[in-house]
Symmetry: C2
Subunit: 319 residues, 2 copies
C-alpha cells in the first residue's frame, strides 16, 4: 500500500527532525558523486504564468528513489487566494519501482529544504559578527529563512526589502511575532549598506542588487532564481566575490545567477565550489571579515530525497 501523507502530518513531523545535518549529509554525498540527479524537468505555462519543476534522483544503493513536482504560479494568491507554491513529493522503492509514499506537502517541504540550504550557507559563509540580516522579498521563503537562521546566528536585527508597503507591513508583523526586530524598506541601498548577511528570495527577472552597492565583508545567499529567466544579482557582483558556492555545478550552468554570470563572463566555471565540497573543507569557509561571498542555490533533488525519506521514516516509526 502506498502511504499518503497530508500536509498537517508533514508539518508536525518536520519539527522533530534535525534538518541541518540531514541536508548537509545529502550535499556531501551529492558532491562526492554518490547521488544520481538527472537534469531538472520543466514545464512553463503563460496564462496565467507558472513554472513546474520536476526534480528526481537517488542515492546509489539506497532503498529509495524520489520524484518531486513543485510549481510556482505567482498569480495564485491574487486570482485564487492560494499559495503560489504547490506540489508534492513521491518516494519509490529503488529495488522494485513500487510507490512507497506520497507526501502531499503543497510545496511546504521545498520551502523548508530550501531554507535549510540557505542556513547551511550562512553557517559557513556569514561573517562571525552578523550586524544585521538583509532579506530581499516578503514571500514564504523570506519568512521561513528567518525561522531556520536562528540556529546559526544570534542576530535578531533584520531589514527587509519589498515593493509593496502592505506586504512589508505584514512581513514585519509576522516576523516580530517570532522574535525579530524588523525594519522595512523599498530602497535596496538600505539593505546593502547595513547588512552583512543578505538573503535574496524573489522571483525577479532582473538584477535587484548592483555591484557598487555591495560592501566588503558581505555574504549573499541567492535563492530566488531557479530558471533561465529569473535573476536577482548584477552579474558583476561575481567579479568582486572571494568565494562562489553553488549547490550543484552542473545545474548552475543551466539556471540561476551563476548561469547569467558565466554568460556575462563575470566568473569562470573553475571558480565554482559545490556546497557539499565546501562543507567538508575549511579552506572554502569564510576566513576573514573582509571577504565577499556568494552562495547561489537553485535547489537539488538530493535535498528532496533527504527530506522526503526523513519525514516518511519518522512517521512510520511512530505508527
Amino acid at each position: 500500500m502506498t502511504k499518503i501523507i497530508e500536509l498537517e502530518e508533514i508539518k508536525n513531523e518536520i519539527e522533530k527532525i534535525d534538518l541541518i545535518p540531514l541536508i548537509e549529509k545529502g550535499f556531501i554525498e551529492y558532491s562526492k558523486g554518490n547521488v544520481v540527479v538527472p537534469p531538472v524537468g520543466e514545464l512553463l505555462f503563460h496564462d496565467p504564468p507558472g513554472d513546474v519543476h520536476i526534480k528526481y534522483g537517488a542515492i546509489n544503493n539506497d532503498d529509495y528513489y524520489v520524484v518531486k513536482i513543485a510549481s510556482g504560479f505567482s498569480q495564485n494568491p491574487k486570482l485564487y487566494g492560494i499559495s503560489p507554491l504547490q506540489g508534492l513529493m513521491l518516494l519509490f522503492n529503488q529495488k522494485t519501482g513500487q510507490p512507497i509514499s506520497i507526501l502531499l506537502d503543497q510545496g511546504y517541504l521545498t520551502n523548508v529544504r530550501t531554507a535549510v540550504a540557505g542556513t547551511i550557507s550562512a553557517k559557513y559563509l556569514a561573517p562571525k559578527n552578523v550586524k544585521q540580516i538583509g532579506i530581499v522579498g516578503t514571500g514564504s521563503q523570506a519568512r521561513i529563512q528567518l525561522k531556520y537562521l536562528k540556529s546559526v546566528t544570534n542576530c535578531k536585527d533584520v531589514i527587509v526589502w519589498g515593493r509593496s508597503k502592505e506586504k512589508l507591513e505584514s512581513y514585519k508583523n509576522d516576523m516580530t511575532n517570532i522574535g525579530y526586530n524588523i525594519k522595512t524598506t523599498t530602497n535596496m541601498e538600505d539593505i546593502t549598506s547595513s547588512s552583512n548577511l543578505i538573503v535574496t528570495t524573489t522571483s525577479a527577472n532582473q538584477s535587484l542588487l548592483k555591484v557598487d552597492q555591495i560592501q566588503k565583508g558581505t555574504h549573499i545567499t541567492a535563492m530566488g532564481s531557479d530558471t533561465i529567466e529569473k535573476r536577482e544579482l548584477d552579474p558583476n557582483i561575481f567579479q568582486i566575490a572571494d568565494l562562489v558556492i553553488v549547490d550543484s555545478i552542473s545545474q548552475s550552468k543551466q539556471r540561476g545567477e551563476v548561469f547569467h554570470a558565466l554568460k556575462a563572463d563575470c566568473i569562470k566555471e573553475e571558480q565554482l565550489i559545490e556546497l557539499g565540497k565546501m562543507i567538508e573543507n575549511k579552506k572554502y569557509h569564510r576566513s576573514s571579515d573582509d571577504q565577499i561571498t556568494i552562495a547561489d542555490l537553485t535547489g537539488v533533488a538530493i535535498q528532496d530525497i533527504q527530506i522526503a525519506k526523513a519525514v516518511y521514516q519518522g512517521i512510520i516509526n511512530w505508527q
Copy 2:
C-alpha cells in the same frame, strides 16, 4: 483535496471509455504541435536492473498537466512475485499547479495506452486480410495487445514467440480463454513466415527479427524498445520498409528502434512520419497488400495525458 484513485477503480472505469478515438485525438494534437512534451526523464538502476521513465506534458490551454512515473524492474516476478511494471499517474491543475488526482495504476494505464497505440497502428497499417497475428513476447503487453486488437481485426489466429516454454503455455491458456487460437514457438522464423501483422513486446537488447525473415506485405508494430539500450528489430528492416511511422519523431531520435536504424544509416529522418500525421492523411495509410510497414512506438506523454484525464473525469462524473 487531491483525489486518490486505486487500481480497481481505474480498471472498472477503463472499460467504459472509448479509448481509440481518445488516443487518436491526442496523437493528432501532438503532431500538430499543440502539446508540450519535454524529453523523457530517466533513472536507471543496476542491482537489480530497473529503468524508470518520467513522462510529462500538457495540451496547450487545457485544464490539466500530467506527470507519469512508470518503471520496469524485470526481476520483480522472480525476486518478489510482483509485476515488473510499476508506477502511477498524476493530474495537476494547469492554472494553479495544484495536484488534482493521483492514479495509483501500478503501470496498468501505461500498459493500456501502449496497447491502444499499437491498435491504432494496426488499424491503418495492417493488411486488409490479416492471416495470422504474430506476437513476440509473452508478458503483460503481449496479452493486452490481443484484447485491444479485437476492435480492428477479425483475425483470431495467433502465433506467439517466447524463450520459455512455461511462459508460452501460460500465454496460450490465458489467450485461448479470451477467444484466440494460439500456436506457440521458440523459433522466430515460424512467426515471420506465417504472420502479416507482427507485434514485438519484449525488453530485448538485441535484434530478434532479421531482415531476411521479413515477408512482403508484413506490418510490424515494435513497442518493446523505449530506451537507448533496448531493441528488437534488425535495423536493416528499415531499409526494406515502405512506410515508417513513429509516435514521436523527436523521441525516436533518442530511443527505440528508429534511434538504432538512424545510427546505422538504415533510414533518414525525412522518411519518418508521425502517428498523429498518419492518422489524418490517407496517403500514409497502407495502400497495397505488398507493402512492408513499421510502427515504432516509444510511448509519448500525450497518451498518458489523454488516459489520465479520461479516467479521472469518468470517475468524478459518476460521484
